[in-house]
Each structure stands twice: as C-alpha cells, then as structure tokens.
C-alpha cells in the first residue's frame, strides 16, 4: 500500500536560492534586505506575415530583462551605501551603470552557476516605513534594466556568503 508521501510530493523552489550580488568599489557584495524581487523578461520579437501564409511567423530574437526590487536599507551595508550614493549625487546615464551577479545556490556547493550583466540602476521611491519586525527602516524601490549581454560563469562565495568572486567561463 502506498504512503501519502509516495503519491504526493511538494518540493517548492525556495526563495533564497537566487541571490543578487552587486559590484561595488570594495568588491562584489550580497544585496541584502530585498523584500520583494521580480525579474521581468520582455521578448524582442520579429513578426512578419508572408503573402503565401495564412498566419504570421514570429521569431524570438532576444530577451530584454528587467529586475524590479524593494530593498529595506540597512546601515553600513556596502551595497546599499553604493546605491544610495548614486541617488544622492543625482547620477544619470553611464554613471548609474552597475554590475549585477545572479547566483543560483540551489545547485549545492560553491562554486555556483552565476550570470554577470551590466544594468542601469533606476531608483523609483525611497519610503520611510517599517520593516517586517515593525522596526523603522527606509525602503528603496528600484529597477535594474539590462544594458549588456549576460556573461555566464561561476561564483565562489565567501563562507558567510556576503562577498563573492566571479570566474567567467572561457567560451562565454
């Protein structure tokens, strides 16, 4: 006779398996305090309809990615200070280009698969509010819009996971 576990498994992909690291002048550091994270993919399509075909033909020629997130700011956090510095100085254009590393730690052990890509940092709102525990905190809502191709590689994390080193794949 089958047990319940034999016929029904439920193994959700955990939040926390996909980490976001930010390249800062001091190194590549974990972007902590992200309370909501959404990676949007906008397909770039080439659609045409030939005279001898009834329906249109669509080709996917690229995917443009955009990361939307809300970050609860922590004092003294290097990645947060770096982003806030850009807001305070009113940076724009190339000056808001940041390097993000998306690391998938679901694989098991370091080095983990990683994708490096340049993004434009676009701040949306900075709100005074409270974090989950009811403690006062500023929340930064922002977007990162891709402005380069992604480079695949591997990430070697420090033991506490706060920093990482990136090793690009030779053929990427």
């Amino acid at each position: 006779m089958k047990e319940v576990g034999d016929i029904f498994t439920f193994n959700p992909s955990k939040s926390g398996d996909l980490l976001l690291y930010l390249g800062t002048p001091g190194g590549i550091t974990l972007l902590r305090g992200i309370s909501s994270l959404k990676i949007e993919f906008s397909p770039v399509e080439h659609v045409r309809r030939y005279f001898d075909e009834v329906e249109a033909t669509a080709d996917l020629v690229g995917i443009h990615s955009r990361i939307e997130c809300e970050i609860e700011l922590l004092s003294g956090e290097p990645a947060h200070e770096y982003l806030l510095g850009m807001i305070k100085s009113g940076s724009a254009g190339d000056a808001v280009e940041v390097e993000l590393y998306i690391v998938d730690i679901s694989a098991g052990s370091s080095p983990y698969p990683c994708r490096r890509r340049q993004y434009s940092f676009i701040p949306r709102t900075l709100c005074a509010g409270s974090m989950g525990a009811g403690l006062p905190a500023y929340t930064l809502a922002c977007e990162f819009k891709a402005r380069s191709l992604a480079e695949c590689g591997a990430a070697a994390l420090s033991p506490d996971g706060q920093t990482m080193n990136f090793y690009g794949a030779p053929d990427s």
């Binding site: 926390g16 994270l37 974090m131």
Partner: protein, 136 residues
C-alpha cells in the same frame, strides 16, 4: 529551527543575568531555590515575521520573565528590568544570529498567588532577531 531557539534562550538568560539590580539569579524554565526567584520562560517556538530574498529570516520569540516573591515590591523590580532592557538594547546572540530589538509586550502584572502570600509577577517580552542564511 529548535537549535536556534535554544541558543537564543540561552543568550537571553545571560542577558537577564547581566542586569545588575536583579533580585535573584534567573533560571531557564524553572525557579531556583529560595525567594525571591526569577525565571525566564521562552515560548515553545519562534514566529517568522519576514523572509528576505537572500534567505534571511526575521523571527519573533515571545518570552516571559517571572518573579516569585513574598512581599517586597516585585512590580517595581520588573519595571526596573523593563527600563534596563530599553537602556541597554538587544543582547548578543552569537554567530549567524542578530538581535534587532527586545519589545515590551505588556506592563508587569500579577499572574499568580497563594494564601501564604507568595505571589508571581510576570513581564511578557518579545525578542525580534534575524537569522542569516547558510551557504555551505
């Protein structure tokens, strides 16, 4: 995460026992010999308040500091403990854990008594703390 709950409870005990004006040495889960006696009683489990995308979790662990005494001014003593907590800030919990706040849930109150004049007074508190994600 029972191991973390035990670690936090043990750290809280040290924290309460660092209170210079404590009427007695606090014990975890039970009262000591004699009167007055001080007990730290954590609740059975911590409640998750928030999870972050990087795996960091913020938890709330309710606990109660109770003072058993015959006579004296136990309410004033627990009030003084509340003042000490507000003045000193949250305790150190060890590696991988970070205390954010100790919140006073209610004012000290009498929670039990008997005919001999022995009474128990309690101060309900809540420890808010964060657990960092594990990578290895």
């Amino acid at each position: 995460m029972p191991i973390y709950t035990y670690r936090t409870a043990a750290a809280l005990l040290d924290y309460i026992n660092d209170w210079p004006d404590r009427p007695a040495q606090a014990r975890l889960g039970s009262y000591g010999e004699g009167l007055p006696a001080l007990r730290l009683l954590p609740s059975s489990g911590a409640q998750v308040l928030k999870r972050y995308a990087d795996g960091t979790v913020i938890l709330s662990l309710p606990f109660t500091v109770s003072l058993r005494a015959r006579g004296g001014s136990p309410i004033a003593s627990l009030d003084a403990l509340a003042g000490y907590i507000q003045k000193t800030g949250p305790p150190y919990l060890g590696e991988g854990l970070c205390a954010l706040a100790v919140e006073l849930c209610e004012p000290p109150q009498r929670t039990g008594s008997d005919v001999s004049g022995l009474a128990e007074y309690s101060l309900p508190l809540s420890l808010i703390y964060a657990i960092s994600p594990r990578f290895e």
